[in-house]
């Protein structure tokens, strides 16, 4: 009984199918299941919405077209025309983070992005991808990214060190932002939910109203965090593609 009131129990990874490969445990876990659910939901949404292909879109098709336009505008605004080449990646990234966050809001589901390893894998892909893109496009000239123009020579060594450190911290900040938002949000929901049960009649309608408001906030945060992850990816891509121009 105490286990059900533990707010951290929802983040437990459970094996659904044991798949030992060699010495490693490659089991299909609840995390993997919800990743599959998210990808299936995204694919189903986009395929079904666009299956009508009418010139004047209905509601569902509008939603699919809106999501396309939203990301396309974000990339064009922040990374320019050259960034549109990476549209499939950034669109997939946005939709995956968004759907994982939203599916986690359904009671009794598992939030895929509430584990640091998942968000860190995504952030690392973005970081390494953007760095490789920068080096391929500019060669060693890419390193001038760390040397801002118009800086007096005396400050230069210190500034370069600071710039390099702030560049290296990008995958960490990107992943921790998403992970901590999701974990803290869902933990808060569980804790306040248990208050509703524990206070019962004494609290009246106030704890429940607060939990409803908090759930609404968490849905907003799900969208916001997906948006922020994606727009920061576009900004980092812009840095790599166009250095500081």
């Amino acid at each position: 009984m105490a286990e059900q009131f533990d707010p951290l129990h929802q983040f437990q990874i459970e094996r659904l199918f044991e798949i030992p490969i060699g010495g490693l445990d490659a089991s299909f876990t609840n995390s993997a299941l919800f990743m599959v659910v998210a990808v299936t939901a995204i694919t189903a949404f986009l395929l079904i919405a666009m299956s009508g292909r009418s010139l004047v879109p209905g509601r569902l098709q509008s939603m699919a077209e809106l999501s396309y336009e939203f990301i396309a505008n974000m990339i064009r605004e922040n990374a320019g025309r050259a960034g549109m080449k990476y549209f499939p990646f950034i669109f997939s990234l946005f939709m995956f983070v968004l759907f994982s966050n939203l599916i986690g809001m359904i009671p009794y589901t598992f939030t895929v992005t509430s584990h640091i390893i998942v968000t860190f894998a995504l952030a690392l892909v973005v970081f390494i991808g953007v760095t490789v893109i920068g080096f391929v496009r500019h060669g060693l000239h890419f390193l001038t990214l760390f040397v801002p123009s118009g800086v007096p020579m005396a400050l230069l060594p210190l500034l370069v060190v600071i710039e390099v450190l702030s560049y290296l911290i990008r995958p960490i900040s990107l992943s921790v932002r998403l992970f901590a938002n999701m974990t803290a949000g869902h933990t808060m929901l569980k804790v306040f939910g248990s208050f509703v049960v524990m206070l019962g009649v004494l609290g009246g309608w106030a704890p429940l109203a607060f939990v409803v408001a908090l759930t609404g906030l968490e849905v907003g945060i799900a969208f916001l965090q997906a948006y922020v992850f994606t727009i920061l990816t576009c900004i980092y891509l812009n840095d790599a593609l166009h250095l500081h121009h």
Binding site: S173, V176, R177, A180, N181, A184, Q225, I231
Partner: protein, 75 residues
């Protein structure tokens, strides 16, 4: 000092960082409202930047939370 007690005190001290974050978030939205009252037509265009700024500042709060949790549960 008892390590368990030190952990709890450390975690409590780590939350002092949230004061700065509160000031920062208030600053962002205060400037936005101030600007929007002067130039309502430009407000929707800059709202995206407001959300970005809010999320980046919130990230600092979450770094502080992360340190508090690290102190409590990892060390």
């Amino acid at each position: 000092m008892d390590p368990a007690a030190a952990k709890l005190i450390g975690a409590g001290l780590a939350t002092i960082a949230l004061a700065g974050v509160g000031v920062g978030i208030g600053n962002i939205f205060g400037s936005f409202v101030s600007g929007a009252l002067r130039n309502p037509a430009a407000a929707p265009k800059v709202f995206g930047n407001v959300l970005l700024g809010f999320a980046l500042t919130e990230a600092i709060a979450l770094f502080a939370l992360l340190i508090a949790l690290l102190l409590l549960f990892v060390f």
